[in-house]
Each structure stands twice: as C-alpha cells, then as structure tokens.
Symmetry: C2
Subunit: 273 residues, 2 copies
C-alpha cells in the first residue's frame, strides 16, 4: 500500500463506509492514514470536507482515496462535483441496479442507525447486552431459560468477548459459563447447565496459547502453568465430547469469526445489524 | 420493498457484505428475508450456494438479490458465471479502480478477520473489552488513569452499552461511572473522577424516556418515578455544565451514533475496525 490518506465520508455514522473501506483496503496490505468524517449532512459541510480533501491531496502530493456512503442527494451532488480525491461512491454504485430490480425509487433515508433507537430491534439488542452482562462468567444461573446460547469453556478461552459481541451485533442473548477444575473432578457439567445442554456451545483453545494469555493475568501461578492448562483443556474437551456439546477452537479465530460460526448453528438466517 | 430474499455471500465472515447490504436495503424500506452464507471458500461450496440461490429464485418466482464480498478468484469466477440472482459484487466493483490508483495488484487475502487474532490491534481490542467490563458502572476506580474516556451520567442513560461498543468496535478503553443522588446532594463529581475530569464525557436523556426505561426494571419505584427522573437529569446536567464536561443526549440516538460522536471528540482519526 502506498503512503495514502483515506477518507470515510458519510451523512450518517460512517460505520458502513469504514467497514467496507477497511475490507477493501486489506486487499492491498499496509496501513493508510484514516480520516473519519461522519455526519456530513449539509451543503456547507460538504463544501468544507471537499476543501479539506483537496488541501490534503496537495500537501501530500497525491490525491486521497474517499469511501463515501452519502444518501442526501444535495450533499452527494456537491461531493461528486468538487471532490478532488478518488471517489468511491458506494451507495450510488449499487442503488441504481437495485432501483431497477425492485422497480422502486430509494428513499434517501440517512443512516441506518437514525431513529433506530426507537425500534423494537434496537430495544432487543440493548436487552441482549444487559442479559449477557448479567450472565457473564457464570455470575447468575437465574433465567438461563431465556438464553439463546450458553458459551462454555475454560477460563480465558474467549467466552466473554464472544458473548458480548453476539449480544451487541446480533441481539443474541448469550450467557457464558466457565468450566473449572471442580467440574473436571466431578466429571460433570456445572449443575445449572444440566437442563440447558442443547443450548451450550463450547470454546476450546490451544493449551500453550492459553498459558500465555493466563501468564499476562497471573504470572507464575498454577492457573497459568502450561501443565495445568493442558490438563484443563483436555478435561474440558473430554467433557464437551461426552455431553455432545459442539465446540470450536478460538486459538486462531477472531470474535467475529467465532460468532459467525455460532450463529450459523443457532440462528442460521436471522436478520443482523 | 418487494417481498425478496437477499443472500449475503462471503469467503470470510460476511460481516462486511451484511453491514453494507443492510445499509443499502434501508434505502428501500421493508424487511427482506436474510440468508447468510459465510465461509464460501471452495469451488464445491460456490457451486452449492449457486444451486441454492437458483432454487430459491424458482420457488419464489423472482430472482434473489445477492451481496457478495468474495476475494478468492476461483470462487468469484464460479459465482459470476453461475449465480442466477442479481449479483452485487462489492469487492470486484471497487478493487479495479483502486488497483489502478495504487499501481498495485490486490492480494486476494480472504477475510479481514482471518489471522487477525494474532495481531496487536486485536489484542488491544480484547484488552479494551476487559477494561470496560472491569470499569462498568463505577465498579472499580483502580487504573482509571488508563481509561481513554470515562462516560458519566445517571443510571440507565446508556453508559454501559456505549462503553462496551467503544471497546469492542474501536479498541477504546471506556470506563463508565454513574452519577447518583448522593453526588447531587454533595454537588460534586464522584471523588474518583475529580482528577480525570478532562477524560469525562456525559450522557443525558429525556426524563420521561428515562422513567419509561427504569419502569421496565423496577416498576413503581422511586427510582423510576417521573419526578425523581426529572430531578436526577436536571442535577446531572447542572453538574456537567459546572464541571465543563461535554455531553450529549442519548434519547434518540443509537449506541453507534453516540460512539461516533464521542470518538470524534477523543480520537478523531484513529483506525477502527
């Protein structure tokens, strides 16, 4: 990737522009400088950002790359005419074929998040976040019946961030429950989970990686000791096998990849945000 | 929006396809049926999903709309040739102008999240989530020096979900601290915050909306009483004004919009995911 500046322009939050832009830019490696310009929702702001883009290009001796998700027709027209960067007009490009396909004009509603705060879906997402927080790390066995999924695994296998991601991005009520040495000694799932076995999804992790992560928390402890980590992971996997709980390894996976896999299992085709 | 089925195809998680697709579809209103097909990373899976798309179109009497983020050239070629839906090839469309602009070939790396689990940025995001959890709702005043931002506001003004969102999506260490009646009686910020005033960002909320939200939690309580909510909100706003703390109202805003505004204040141009 050449040394470029990349702008993300939007009349909403710019999250779509940046998500998409980052995915595309990952195809070129390197780290361009990111400039985020959300809420460009008036002619005045449009002219201003165009001037800024031009000045940046002049100062750097090469034009900037601009990912834009603009639905306000006035703003878009100004940017199209005055933007001296390489303009990648993400909505403009795909709206036209969809209008033709649907035989419908688009509504130019700015921002998929505006007014979303009043919707049932948004309410459900916030409820899911509250649920996942209240049911983090086995804190509460109350109301597990309401959980969409219960992540299980040894401490530091990735349960907490995955649960919160599932709740926040997908409105999934994800509880998580640790498997601890006492469970392995009893060779039994924690009692609270027995009746919810079919909702459980396991996370496992390479023992050496686990030991590394635990060392950061409690250096030199038995908890972080490689032998102990191997024991716990081995016992946890045996338990999940025995109980018929599907699992995956989080070792080389991001929370996004883990969540996508879990969703495929629990709600293959649910609307997400 | 006509009664359509929409597919999201990706050789990665499909998060980009779905984020972008949802933004575009919001321009047409309505709720099409969503079908998510992540991890389409082999010729075999590509043929299979094309057959499925064709069968769906036949069954429904109209072709499906397909948002695709495919970087594997073999998979993309198969989908381009055999997909009987309206194919919106999101990467193909924008990669070519960027290759020309950069004078570089793209690397066809699948999925911006693959192998991300090993990166420093990913590590920092997970640390930020842990930090935000440990500093939720004023649980700990320890290590507030490490916070990037401290959200303050009355109970149920939106601090917790916003903190977690900032951490998860942006790697921002966001603590949050409630303003409670005792603080208003003393007319002082909570003691732990005094030296971190410049990191504080306030959330406020319409008192009637607050009362509604609190009623869901504790019906009939003083906590949820409209008079009490008006008092708390009024006092909190007075305090933020007096202390010179910037704030916004969360009443009509999603956590995405709140977070975008806060980021603009605290880290205008930081790389996000």
């Amino acid at each position: 990737m050449p040394n470029r500046t990349v702008y993300f322009l939007s009349d909403g939050t710019g999250i779509t522009a940046e998500t998409f832009g980052n995915s595309i830019l990952a195809q070129f490696g390197g780290k361009p400088r990111h400039v985020r310009r959300p809420f460009i929702d008036s002619a005045e702001k449009a002219y201003e950002v165009c001037r800024e883009i031009e000045a940046t290009g002049v100062a750097e001796g090469q034009r900037v790359v601009v990912f834009a998700t603009l639905v306000n027709p006035e703003v878009l027209a100004i940017v199209r005419e005055h933007c001296k960067g390489l303009l990648l007009d993400m909505f403009g490009t795909f709206i036209a074929p969809l209008e033709e396909e649907f035989g419908l004009k688009s509504n130019h509603r700015v921002g998929r998040f505006s007014d979303v705060a009043k919707s049932q879906e948004y309410h459900d997402r916030i409820e899911a976040i509250n649920f996942s927080l209240a049911h983090d790390d086995g804190q509460s066995a109350k109301n597990l019946a309401a959980a969409d999924v219960i992540l299980v695994g040894v401490s530091r296998s990735g349960k907490t961030p995955t649960s919160l991601y599932l709740a926040m991005q997908h409105g999934v009520k994800a509880a998580n429950y640790p498997l601890i040495p006492e469970d392995f000694e009893r060779s039994k799932l924690p009692g609270a989970l027995a009746e919810y076995r079919r909702k459980c999804f396991g996370l496992t992790i390479d023992p050496d990686r686990l030991s590394q992560i635990r060392q950061e928390r409690r250096p030199g402890s038995k908890y972080a000791d490689p032998m102990n980590c191997r024991y716990e992971v081995n016992e946890a996997e045996k338990m999940m096998k025995r109980e018929g709980i599907a699992w995956l390894s989080s070792t080389h996976k991001s929370i996004e990849e883990i969540a996508t896999t879990i969703l495929r299992d629990i709600r293959p085709d649910r609307l997400i945000y």
